[in-house]
């Protein structure tokens, strides 16, 4: 078998970890609050800037900068929920989508205003590992491992804790939950915070691999939406599987054609699948 193809496939697999993590956050928010946060990828951008400034400019230790990014974006998630989502919870879904679209516009432009359009790199160069002629970047491997740990932690949280159970219950039946004595507003806040924290964690992992600039959200934002919808909005396992399928299409398509064409392929697949299976590839 072609070594380079294998390398592309493995890199695709590693990319899938981070995408799956972000999809989890988006899915959680969709499943529980029933709102599509179109600006989710831009929260990730904020987290990447946080890491850049704290670590590369102010000289904080990297783990501390990472922790600050996770906490900061989680707080941002709560703020977004309180200021934008909560007032329009009962209006049409499309209006909610447009309001978070406004947030996307705002965050990107505000970042341009503050940081200009320069590409910034945190300057951490992790080594590249060679295994039997295949080169794998250590940062991707690390990102993959952390993404899996994060996903597992989320799973345990949802399964084992009281509030996790309440979150799952809301995702299943919004109407009845009030009767069970659960404070819906509190659950929404916790969910927004977790969604934000996952975006912050994703930001740390992406900051190791990519330069940050105000429009970085546009490069993978549509992608995580697509993965989310493909997996079935609100369906976490489906999202996980879809993340791996899409990353493989992009990695292997990128190997045979070009990166842009592989994205085109992935988006076209998304459009077609929306027609064929609008409920997602995995049955709930």
């Amino acid at each position: 078998m072609d070594m380079f193809l294998l390398e592309a496939a493995i890199n695709g697999l590693l990319l899938a970890g981070v995408l799956a993590l972000l999809t989890l956050g988006l899915n959680l928010i969709f499943g529980v609050i029933d709102v599509v946060w179109i600006a989710y990828a831009d929260l990730v951008m904020c987290g990447m800037y946080a890491v850049y400034w704290l670590f590369a400019v102010f000289g904080w230790p990297l783990p501390l900068a990472f922790a600050a990014s996770v906490v900061g974006v989680a707080a941002l998630g709560v703020i977004v929920h309180l200021l934008i989502i909560a007032p329009i919870l009962s209006s049409a879904p499309i209006n909610q989508l447009l309001a978070t679209g406004g947030l996307l516009y705002f965050l990107q432009s505000f970042a341009t205003l503050l940081f200009t359009t320069d590409f910034r790199n945190i300057g951490v160069r992790l080594p590249i590992i060679e295994i039997g002629g295949i080169y794998i970047s250590y940062s991707r491997l690390l990102a993959f491992a952390v993404a899996l740990v994060g996903a597992t932690a989320l799973y345990l949280f949802l399964k084992r804790t009281y509030i996790g159970t309440a979150i799952r219950a809301i995702a299943q039946d919004r109407e009845i939950i009030g009767l069970m004595g659960v404070d819906q507003r509190r659950i929404y806040l916790v969910t927004s915070a977790i969604g934000g924290a996952l975006a912050g964690l994703g930001a740390c992992l992406l900051a190791l691999q990519y330069d940050v600039h105000p429009f970085i959200g546009n490069t993978f934002g549509p992608l995580i939406f697509m993965i989310c919808v493909l997996g079935g909005l609100g369906n976490m396992i489906g999202g996980f599987i879809a993340a791996f399928i899409i990353s493989q299409i992009i990695a292997i398509g990128g190997y045979y054609f070009s990166t842009e064409l592989s994205y085109v392929l992935a988006f076209m697949l998304f459009i077609v699948l929306m027609f064929v299976r609008p409920q997602g590839i995995v049955r709930r």
């Binding site: 209006n95 947030l103 516009y105 505000f110 939406f225 929306m274």
Partner: protein
């Protein structure tokens, strides 16, 4: 009477305005036209986040044909419009047949915008990729639709904008409008009373795609520079949605008011703060978009109308 007087003023304007203001007016008219085009479907609940796709096809097809095959834009632009309309059918027909609505429809159109954007970037050997492209300039020529003199483009933009308003009015007065409003209220019920839901939706989608393509083509001809991000990027697609909503997509002049507002805001902030604050205008757009959606979903003109006529308060979008 008032509208005739207004038109007279608009026609006389290039005689008295300095070039800078003429440039702004052209932009307002062309964007107003594109926002109107978006609203012909947006007002019926078909919210597209991918109108950049139609702009991109409309702008790139004539420019590529001109640069590589010497085909006059008089043929290239109609071809771009036809291809764009075809794209509208390819995306619209399955969506409407299979009842892909609401935010699912929005996400499909978002993906469509990405497909066109990335295809233009991927074909960098002929389109120049992210660096953009310049239509080959031959000086003032009707054949090439190139005019270094802004007054020509002002007249073209004015005519096209008026045409857009006429199309709006034609839809507004036609029988299709009631069918479409019924559909956006309740699709199942509309189908039950014998409305051909797919056909009605497809009709406005094709009209909207075709007009948007024309707008994109004229922008290319006017600016003499095309860039995938600035015709097909997510930013453009969202800007279209924002301005149409801000101005009011349910009133004929609403989208134009949106164009006036956004361009006045951009230019005002640019003059005020200088070029260092490129992001300021867009950041304010973003905040306004959120505020509009939360507090004023019918837009400025819609809000004014509603204040005048309380009866019209039954908004289809709510």
């Amino acid at each position: 009477m008032g509208s005739i007087a207004g038109l007279g003023v608009l026609i006389a304007l290039p005689l008295v305005t300095p070039a800078y203001f003429l440039h702004l007016l052209i932009q307002i008219l062309l964007w107003g036209f594109i926002y109107t085009a978006w609203s012909t479907m947006g007002r019926f609940g078909l919210v597209s986040l991918g109108h950049g796709a139609f702009m991109g096809v409309g702008a790139y097809v004539p420019a590529l044909l001109w640069n590589y095959f010497d085909v006059t834009p008089w043929l290239g632009i109609p071809l771009g419009i036809v291809l764009s309309a075809l794209l509208g059918v390819i995306i619209g027909y399955p969506c409407f047949r299979l009842k892909v609505v609401g935010h699912y429809f929005a996400l499909v159109t978002l993906a469509l915008g990405q497909v066109v954007l990335l295809s233009i970037v991927a074909a960098r050997d002929i389109t120049g990729g992210s660096l953009g492209m310049t239509p080959r300039s031959i000086g003032r020529s009707w054949y090439a639709l190139q005019f270094p003199d802004k007054a020509y483009f002002y007249v073209i933009a004015l005519v096209v904008w008026l045409g857009g308003l006429l199309v709006w009015r034609w839809i507004d007065r036609g029988i299709g409008r009631e069918a479409l409003e019924a559909i956006s209220d309740d699709e199942e019920a509309a189908a039950a009373v014998g409305i051909d839901v797919t056909r009605e939706k497809l009709r406005v989608t094709v009209i909207s795609a075709a007009l948007t393509a024309l707008g994109g083509a004229l922008f290319g001809q006017y600016l003499m520079y095309l860039n995938p991000e600035s015709v097909s990027g997510i930013g453009v697609s969202l800007q279209i949605v924002f301005a149409a909503i801000a101005g009011g997509m349910y009133a004929m002049l609403g989208p134009t008011v949106g164009a006036l507002l956004t361009i006045a805001l951009t230019e005002g902030l640019r003059v005020w703060f200088g070029a260092n604050f490129v992001g300021a205008a867009n950041a304010i757009y973003g905040i306004l978009l959120i505020l509009f959606v939360v507090f004023m979903p019918r837009g400025i003109l819609g809000w004014l109308e509603m204040a005048r006529r309380p009866r019209a308060a039954t908004a289809p979008a709510e």
